[in-house]
Symmetry: C2
Subunit: 362 residues, 2 copies
DNA sequence: CTGAAAGCGCTTACAG
DNA sequence: CTGAAAGCGCTTACAG
């Protein structure tokens, strides 16, 4: 029917006719100009410009039999694309444009226990010749890697949100150094003189667990007791922070600072503290994680650990590219460092433990 | 070199050989099964499964000469993809997957006054045969449409963020009904008994202007004076809300309610009010716009006007699809309605004007 | 219902 | 440096 095809456009033959040479020469003038005589080249270029010729990518790829130049950004198991992944995508997209690669965006949901063959991948991945490789973002499990292997598609995973037994090692992966981030957060608090620092975060989730490990290391190095983590993300991040902080307070636990390993959770914690009559940072210091919008919207603005979100995206593209070109050095996981952003939710602590108690008990 | 081509994969010829028929028959068995005898079809299907044959999309498209099935989601003039556009993309992507379309993501920055030929479009758009059409999201100006016209690419624009003289009418566009949203926000406040309702928003920007118009209409219909808008987005949304609210208060302007036509601005306004010793909603009611994360993080959680963000994305895909298939009815702008979400930043107002004054003046 | 053949628009050895 | 020709892997009139 009224299909808008591409056939009616000007083809390489039109150019050849116009420039008075063969299509082979036109092709060479365009793809390997040094192989053609300057005068002919000029003529071809003029014809190309005059006719407005743009090569048909389909034919070119078919003839070349090479990579398509498109990579897929696959967002898995997300109800909704939060700003965090949006920024990763943005970073990937910018880098890709610079490398003249296209980024295809696709979503996908699957169960952690689904057999690889049963995972419902976007059909774009199973088509041949569309995509060269994929960036596996979102929250993922080992089974999707097997599904991808089955398709023969090279991939790079966003390792931070990859959930697997610790034995699974994927060399083509980009990670955020959560452990060090947790260490930085706790160290900041310790430097401010805090001694009773508690961790809030759901350690059943790997990224929270790593942040906890960093926190624990800092505490231990400082010769301080390292309390167990609290918090469950089951009912959402905000609720996690709120109820964990409220619970700590209500149970009479002593603390002068909180490291809530997620900004939205930290906002919840601040809110809980306020509801108990405490103020931040006067009574309690709070550090968040990620440097999301929530950190800036919070009252007071949150001291937090900024993660290099866009860089995650660009590094994924870089790595996928070396994977595709089979270039020199072997692929190894990239671990990106975080950076502490000091704002207004933390301050020096000079009271001793006893005073801290009386304050926390309100 | 070590280019990972597609040539080594199983082709239609392998299948034909295996199924003992011609490639034409294999093709038919796959694309128009009813045209082939049941027994042969079975045989072909078995071979396809056994060999793991997946058609090469490049060859197929070249042979068919039809659309590629890919559309481009173009994000213009955004430093960073905020959650708002991320959700539009998500909506588009979900709809596209359902329609078996791929969505390519690309960014682009250009000046409103750049001549169309000088706009640096992602090269994917100028390549032939990659993309069938584009969804023009982000903040855009008329010149990009001319650039797109020049490439012969069909497009649908996200009309809400399109900035042009009022004479520019683009039929293939999806809009949010800002005017009605503003009307709903103001009406809600009026129903609560507020009479001194002020508008904050930067009306040099079209979407704020439309929201102001809705507000003004509600005020006028209620026989109330409609004050001029205040606020400049120059230094950011948050700052806009903060300084406009602070200024209103400091100048002694009477008001019991504020409609801040953006959630982040509303958070700023709430903060300004608090800094002047007023509380929300006890002293002043505040309504925001968009129902962003900020609305839920705000203290108190903001009453706001929710915009159908994902639907914008899916409607864009729908419209682009009818554009591409040249289907039946003619394309007309789609206008999406907003919905008031009542939370805790608004409450009944029963004081009279005089009391209101004394309160707002602290 | 099925096959032989032409064609989609390019690229690239292979000869000159 | 340049051209004739084969080929990339499919699809689809055109004859049977």
């Amino acid at each position: 029917m009224a299909e808008r095809g591409t056939a009616r456009f000007v083809t390489i033959e039109d150019v050849a006719r116009d420039a008075n040479c063969s299509t082979a020469t036109v092709s060479r003038a365009l793809n390997s100009p040094w192989k053609v005589n300057a005068a002919t080249r000029k003529r071809v270029q003029a014809s190309v410009a005059r006719l407005g010729y743009r090569p048909n990518v389909r034919a070119r790829l078919l003839a070349r039999g090479t990579r398509s130049g498109s990579i897929c950004f696959l967002l898995s198991n997300r109800q909704f694309m939060h700003a965090f992944h949006a920024r990763i995508l943005q970073g990937a997209s910018d880098r890709a444009e610079a490398m003249r690669l296209q980024v295809l965006f696709a979503c996908c949901n699957y169960s952690p226990v689904a057999p690889p063959a049963k995972i419902d991948l976007p059909h774009i991945l199973s088509a041949r010749g569309v995509i060269d490789g994929v960036i596996v973002a979102g929250t993922n499990y080992p089974n999707i890697l097997h599904a991808l292997d089955g398709l023969g598609l090279p991939y790079v995973i966003f390792g931070t949100n990859f959930i697997a037994g610790d034995e699974t090692y994927v060399s083509a992966s980009v990670h955020i150094d959560d452990e060090d981030g947790g260490y930085q957060a706790a160290s900041h608090l310790l430097e401010q003189g805090h001694k009773k620092v508690r961790f809030i975060g759901d350690v059943s989730v790997p990224w929270y667990r790593r942040r906890y490990l960093g926190y624990a290391r800092a505490m231990t190095e400082a010769g301080l007791p390292c309390d167990p983590p609290t918090g469950s993300a089951y009912r959402g991040e905000m609720e996690m922070g709120f109820s964990a902080a409220a619970d700590l307070f209500d149970r009479g636990v002593e603390f002068t600072a909180l490291f809530v390993a997620g900004d939205v959770g930290a906002v919840g914690a601040v809110r809980a503290l306020k509801s108990r009559g405490l103020s931040v940072p006067e009574d309690i210091s709070v550090v968040g994680f990620n440097d999301e919008e929530a950190a800036r919207l919070c009252e007071p603005p949150l001291t937090t650990v900024a993660t290099p979100t866009e860089v995650v995206g660009s590094e994924c593209v870089n790595m996928l590219h070396s994977l595709l070109t089979g270039s020199e050095e072997k692929i190894e996981p990239v671990v990106l460092r975080t950076e502490l952003v000091v704002r207004e939710s933390t301050r020096k602590e000079s009271r001793n433990g006893r005073e801290a108690v009386s304050i926390t008990r309100g």
